[in-house]
């Protein structure tokens, strides 16, 4: 289980994350929503270890996540791949880096087909569109079967087929027992996939709970909650 307690971060003396605490059990998706500048990407970056938080702890099964190799995968908003590696080589790189077992090639074949990358597998990263780069990263993450998945705006730049595949893969990850923190502006995606929702505004937690809890005494639509909670934070 991912346990985040009192995570804080400031830039130049300005707090961008006020003490932030949440939990994500295995096999669950936490939806992270909030307006631009709410601190969603900062939260994910802190969890991934790309940014050093000012305070707080993030643990997985009681041990700091930063100390656990192979635990975390991050799918950033701007998907970046190696410009001089082909699609196939990205998957091979993942297999080698994470020392996957001999069956990885079959998994890779299945993922390439599932992500509709078959006709692009020999292309260099530099020649891939944003949507294709997103799929390559997703395939790479799926291949290594990360236990904790941090996903930042996964749908941007994807066509409907790609979006459907990402949703399917996220659900598959969850069903396999991975914990997922999913940041998105697409509230319908959150509503469809997330088990719990955390609404951030200006680095502060405005609301947190399961969908059922948040719906209690609130308007029916997630969009209406979103505006209600975030406007409270303005």
């Amino acid at each position: 289980m991912l346990v985040v307690s009192n995570l804080t971060k400031s830039y130049g003396g300005e707090m961008v994350l006020e003490p932030l605490s949440f939990q994500v059990p295995r096999g669950a998706i936490l939806g992270l929503v909030g307006p631009n500048g709410a601190g969603k990407t900062t939260t994910l970056s802190c969890l991934a270890g790309l940014i050093r938080p000012d305070g707080g702890r993030a643990t997985w099964d009681g041990a700091p996540i930063i100390d656990q190799a192979g635990l975390v995968s991050l799918l950033p908003e701007s998907p970046e791949v190696y410009p001089l590696l082909t699609v196939d080589e990205h998957l091979e790189l993942t297999a080698r880096l994470f020392r996957l077992g001999p069956g990885w090639r079959e998994d890779a074949e299945r993922l390439v087909a599932a992500m509709d990358l078959t006709s692009h597998r020999k292309k260099l990263g530099a020649a891939l569109s944003k949507g294709l780069r997103q799929r390559v990263l997703m395939a790479s993450i799926a291949l290594r079967r990360a236990r904790l998945l941090l996903v930042d705006e996964p749908m941007i730049g994807l066509d409907p087929a790609g979006q459907r595949e990402i949703k399917r893969l996220l659900a598959e990850f969850r069903d396999r027992g991975s914990a997922i923190v999913l940041s998105s502006h697409q509230l319908d995606l959150i509503e469809e996939l997330a088990d719990t929702v955390l609404i951030l505004s200006k680095g502060r937690v405005m609301a947190q709970g399961t969908l059922a809890e948040l719906k209690t005494g609130a308007p029916d639509e997630l969009e209406d909650w979103f505006f209600r909670y975030t406007e409270e934070g303005q």
Binding site: Y11, V16, N36, L71, S73, L84, E92, L93, T94, G125
Partner: protein
């Protein structure tokens, strides 16, 4: 195979395969073939084959060699190193991988070595065409290798130090004053021998062997300062600084992240426009590239622009005339004037081209702070280049004439581009006449190099690929830069 090794090997292999597959890289392939031809000729004909006296031969070899080596270095570098390394991809694909910190460190240094490799390759070429004995050629290469190697490795540490921007700026200013004094005082002293390299750069030291060791130490220290404060790196630092400011604004809700992304994209384009000038070539031609960027600011005033073009041509003529008779004085004077002009007129290119910086709060003080380091970067770069050359016994003419060639060629290109901007303001968009003019300009510049054909038989081997490459690059780079500048002007000024 280890994952990181796999990444390095495959990237390198794919990069090389791509280089040979793309038609525009054929120029380089041709250049490689020519290099081999030169090597064979030198091996089989140890004596110089030339109807000219040694001095003229030296000049020709030096000019052609400098231009070709630098041109090749840059052109070989452009498609490989920058595309090869992707820090954002590292952040995602290597995240959580069970790799050791030392492996990642090695990866970074490997990239540094790749950057170094592009220059080294050019230097191998240099050794083939340098005049005189093999021993002298080796000294040239050693000197250049040391120079570039120091720059590359000190850059790693300099980059870390420059994160503390303000103290470094203060140091840069202080250092500027000291170095300006060192540069000015010898110029005022009479009599001054043009070939007295040490006397001009470190006039306060005698030229005994004991002091050579001391000077070598000073060179290393100054190089560190130079790299820390060099314009190329300062520009990058600037951009990081401004992006960080934008991110903070985005966090405060004053800008959207989309603004930051746009700015980042814009800066990438700006980098590309300057990439061909980085490295050794940047240090040789840097002031003029920057000077050209300043002149771009005056573009809206057509008369001023034309005046600047004429000035550039006059400077070229004056430089040639004076340089012909007293190269040391001429280059020193030209450089010094250019420094002053940059200091007075100048803003870093990123300041001009960065849409997010224009009108940003604190832009003016930051701009002022930037000037000291940039100024001193150039002063030290040139001083050190000469000094290191002297330490390694490279002849004054070998260095100075190569440099004079670069300055002259850059000036010609600058003047031509200024005229194009003036005559065809929308050349960067869809103006066919403007594009044709640029291509013709490229041919003209290439033609200057081709003139050597008439004077020196072996010049063809070097100048043909170089001239073709130059024509191509001049056209592409100028067009891209103009497109960029004009697009920004419209955004910034609502044109």
């Amino acid at each position: 195979m280890n994952g990181l090794v796999f990444l390095e090997v495959r990237s390198l292999r794919n990069g090389i395969v791509r280089m040979f597959r793309e038609p525009r890289r054929l120029v380089m392939v041709l250049a490689f073939v020519m290099m081999v031809a030169v090597m064979v000729v030198r091996a089989t004909h140890p004596q110089e084959i030339s109807p000219f006296p040694p001095m003229v031969r030296t000049i020709l070899w030096t000019v052609l060699g400098s231009a070709a080596a630098i041109g090749l270095c840059v052109r070989i570098a452009v498609p490989t190193a920058p595309a090869y390394f992707s820090e954002p991809a590292d952040a995602v694909l290597l995240l959580g991988a069970p790799v050791q910190p030392w492996e990642l460190m090695l990866r970074r240094h490997w990239v540094q070595l790749l950057n170094f490799w592009r220059t080294a390759l050019g230097l191998v070429y240099f050794i083939l065409i340098v005049p005189g004995s093999f021993g002298e050629a080796l000294r040239v290469v050693l000197f250049a290798l040391l120079y570039v190697l120091m720059l590359d490795f000190v850059a790693i540490f300099g980059d870390r130090l420059r994160r503390h921007h303000v103290p470094v700026v203060a140091v840069g200013w202080a250092f500027s004053l000291v170095m300006a004094g060192i540069a000015v005082v010898p110029l005022l002293r009479t009599p001054l021998s043009p070939t007295d390299l040490f006397g001009r750069t470190f006039w306060f030291l005698t030229n005994s062997w004991g002091h050579v060791a001391v000077e070598a130490g000073i060179v290393v220290a100054l190089m560190a300062m130079n790299v820390m404060l060099s314009p190329r790196l300062a520009v990058l630092n600037w951009e990081r600084l401004m992006l960080a400011a934008l991110r903070r604004q985005a966090v405060r809700g004053e800008r959207t992240m989309a603004d930051v992304v746009r700015a980042r994209t814009a800066l990438r384009v700006a980098h590309r426009t300057f990439r061909p000038w980085t490295g050794l070539a940047f240090h040789l031609s840097g002031p003029w590239v920057l000077f050209e960027a300043k002149l771009r600011m005056w573009r809206r005033g057509g008369a001023a622009l034309r005046g600047a073009g004429v000035l550039a041509l006059l400077a070229l003529g004056a430089g040639y005339f004076v340089g012909h008779h007293a190269p040391g004085h001429a280059i020193s004077a030209l450089e010094f004037v250019s420094y002053i002009m940059i200091l007075v007129v100048g803003t870093p290119p990123s300041m001009i081209t960065n849409p997010m910086v224009v009108g940003a709060p604190r832009a003016v003080p930051l701009l002022m702070a930037e000037q000291g380091p940039s100024f001193i970067g150039w002063v030290t770069a040139y001083g050190l280049f000469w000094t290191t050359a002297a330490v390694f016994g490279v002849s004054f003419h070998t260095v100075i004439l190569g440099y004079a060639w670069i300055v002259a060629l850059t000036l010609v290109m600058t003047a031509w581009k200024l005229c194009i901007w003036s005559w065809f303001p929308d050349v960067g968009t869809r103006n066919l006449a403007g594009r044709l003019a640029l291509i013709l300009g490229g041919f003209a510049v290439g033609g200057i190099a081709l003139l050597w054909l008439l004077w020196f038989p072996w010049g063809a081997i070097i100048t043909v690929p170089w001239a073709v490459a130059e024509m191509w690059v001049l056209y592409r780079i100028t067009l891209r830069r103009l497109t960029w500048a004009i697009g920004l002007a419209r955004v910034n000024h609502g044109e």
